[in-house]
């Protein structure tokens, strides 16, 4: 079974993010980048499926991102991926989810696959579209936000997290699955594996190698970032004092009139 895992490199959750000079991207200085946690769940699941199947599976990690993203691929190789593909071109800076799906489609088609695993969402732009757009482009069935996954012959049984419960779906291979938190606990790479991963070859097809060019990417884009603004600083909580009945009335009033949530 050929498993392909699509992963993105994102700023660490604790990073102090500031808007860059262009007003449309973040300032990357002083930011530690990590594999998007949901993509890491996807990678871990791919590795576990491979381990369950014995030697009859391969896991290839694909990452579209600037040169720094190589680090994420090395981590993936250290965790146990068999191969890694790094796609980058300066014209991809600012590419949206639709364009990324186009690039990934070309990449995974070139690799060949039976199962594509993605994270449910990237924690930086939180668009949660790439996996599903990729499935649509490939014309494949998909299961989104999966918390449990089983391969049964040529079909998948996936447990999906839905509002208030779990939905169990069955889908034929090939398919696209996006990973939700709870699917697994990613492993910690061992030192010999990290050492080996440093020397491994990483595939770099380039846009041309995938049969694409800057124009095709631009055409695929469906959105453009106009500006970024920091989230308003969180204000301190407010204590509603007074007798319980009175306080409850004040609270209800505040929620309706000020917070406008009721």
């Amino acid at each position: 079974m050929r498993i392909v895992v699509c992963a993105k490199q994102v700023p660490d959750t604790e990073a102090r993010v500031t808007v860059g000079k262009d007003g449309r991207s973040i300032d990357e200085t002083g930011i530690t980048f990590i594999i998007n946690p949901y993509d890491e769940f996807a990678l871990e699941e791919g590795l576990r499926i491979k381990e369950r199947l014995g030697g009859q599976a391969t896991v290839t990690m694909v990452c579209v991102g600037p040169p720094r993203a190589e680090e994420a691929l090395r981590t993936g190789l250290a965790m146990g991926a068999d191969a890694a593909v790094h796609v980058w071109d300066d014209s991809l800076a600012g590419a949206d989810a639709a364009a990324l799906a186009l690039v990934l489609q070309a990449a995974v088609t070139q690799l060949g696959f039976d199962l594509i695993l993605c994270g449910r969402v990237a924690i930086d732009d939180a668009s949660a579209q790439v996996g599903l757009r990729l499935a649509e482009r490939l014309g494949l069935p998909h299961a989104n936000a999966v918390t449990k996954l089983e391969v049964q012959g040529s079909k998948l049984v996936a447990h999906r997290e839905v509002e208030g419960g779990v939905e169990v779906v069955e889908l034929p291979l090939p398919a696209v699955v996006t990973a939700q938190k709870g699917l697994n606990e990613p492993r910690y790479p061992t030192i010999p594996a990290i050492m080996k991963a440093r020397r491994r070859e990483i595939g770099r097809p380039g846009l041309a190698g995938l049969g694409l060019d800057a124009g095709k990417v631009a055409d695929a884009c469906r959105s453009e970032v106009l500006s970024l603004a920091p989230a308003p600083a969180r204000k301190g909580g407010r204590l509603v004092a007074g007798e319980p009945q009175e306080a409850a009335r004040t609270l209800a009033h505040l929620l309706r009139e000020e917070a406008k949530v009721l």
Binding site: A15, R16, P189, T190, I191, P192, M195
Partner: protein
Amino acid sequence: MPTRPIYWNVPGYLWLYLFFAITVGVLAWGLWGHYRVIRRGPRQPLWDQAGRRLWSLVVDGLFQRRFWTDPSAAVMHLFIMWGMLVLLFGTAIVLLEADFHLPVFRGTFYLWLSLALDVFGVLAAVGLVMALARRYLLRPARLDNRGEDALILGGLLFVVLNGFALEALRLAASPDPWAAWSPVGALLAAPLAGAAPTTLMAWHRVLWWLHLLTAMALVAWLPFSKLLHILTGPAHQLLRDLAPRGVLAPVDFSDEAREVYGLANLDEVGPRGRLALEACTRCGRCQEVCPAYLSGKPLTPKQVVLDLRAELEVALPWRQRAATPAAAGHAAAGGGAGGASAGTSSGRAGGAPATGPAARTIPGQVVETEVIWSCTTCGACQEQCPVYIDHPPLLVEMRRYLVMVEGEFPSEAQLALRNVEVNYNPWGVGWADRAAWAEGLGVPDFSAVVTEHPDAWLYWVGCAGAFDARNRQVAAAVAGLLQKAGVPFGILGTRERCCGDPARRLGNEYLFQTLAEHNVAALTGAGVRRIITACPHCYHVLSREYPALGGQFQVVHHTAFLADLLREGRLKPARQAAGEGVVYHDSCYLGRYAGIYDAPRHIVDALGARRVELPRARARSFCCGGGGGRTFLEESLGKRINLMRTDEIVGQGAKTAVTACPFCLTMLEDGAKERDRAFTVLDVAELLSRHL
């Protein structure tokens, strides 16, 4: 001339030479087997600081320095040891007289020797009776009784008492003008005065052979029983690791093809480590003070050593045959029995060195992983061990294997390590906020200070001081005190990263070295020469572990620094603590590791507080439960260590507990919360700043 006939009344004494030859042969064979086991593994220099080693042999070997924390055990063991040494000396004198015809067993020397043999024989008997009483009547939990214990103690006691009986029978049967110099024999001879000489002599002959055979049997048994410690104990005292406590050996990561790190098996353990395992006498002092053991966790340091020793001794010639079938699953192709000599001289780089037939993976197969993760590296065991076995480093070596090779460890440890990797602190707070604690406090960056004061101090804040809400208050107090005393100092801000203590103690040596490299470069680059830190763990790492990685700095713990400021009058307490009771809790890394016991006490005393000592204080202090990276792990087995210590503090009735370590502060404060806030916990610096 005073003397006595040798081999009196033993016509067939020549047989003894046969028995003697057998005894020496068995003894030599056994010792050779142990020697070969100890000499396996990589070579290492053993004789550096020879003077210090010999001195240790005198005070630790001959005078048993480490026994004196338990006086009754000290008396017991000194009596047995010295008694047996003097009796052995007496026997050697007889040998010189009888077989080498040297005139040594005569004259005044003979008389004094005779007296000494009686006196020390009595001491040995007293010691042996004490030992038997401890083992079989008092039964302290730290002693596990095996058959060999009874046989050895009983055998030795039999030999000693039998010696007195022989003396009494000889004196009763044949008049001796110097009988007064054998007072015990003379005393025992008195009631026998009326017996027929032939009866006495018949008994004498029987007992003489029993005496001889028992003694020789015990000597021959030495390599095969715990009597071995008579040789391995002093040998390890002599050749032990003299590095300061808890300083771990760095791992060499330069060979990228290396597959194994840490203590996977004993192949990579050198003679010193092997000798340590062979030196254990099962006395259990380590167990008696181990917080993990006392709180009901599966770890006992004694058992770890014994399990490792059993693994080591599989290679002994007389164990190999017995051990092979049990380890059939691991028997590799190729020679088994010859392994004892194969692995030493030639290749140990790269491939697998020749192991004995039963090479098992130590973490998991010889020592359970739960045992390995239970250790707080508090060092209480090391402090107690009479033969200087260092238990915690063994467990950390096992963690190295589990973390770096197997990638198998508690998920909380994984989280802490990831946090350190990404944000350079185990709590995982964004690293850009490292200096946030100092906002508005007027604490300058070091580079702004060093231009004016080339000798300025760097305040190494540490992750706790920088990121943990409670310990940020301590950092603010330390900074305030330094400012008040006019000490030129600054901080590294975001250039400071975790010193690496939790990573190293949790077994991720690779991460530790990455952090150390960064920090050494940052400190050196900033022109730092002198460092103050409020964290004993940072103190240990910066002062004792960074030198091996190229970082040479003068490091001072804040308690020592503040105590000096008080002594010099640069800080003056404005108000006295009016005799309020203050408990001081010794941090393991400040006390047992760094040897700093008095500076924090000096500060407490200088404030006029009534210092309350805990039952377990100073070198015997009981861990808070937070060392060895355990602050960041769940404590799901047994009782919680911090609550045990909390209850000890509650028992002293003081309302304030003072410590000098961020982990202790957190652990004890958590404990106090669960005991209805019976006391408040402060860092020494906070206590001081409240009285200025």
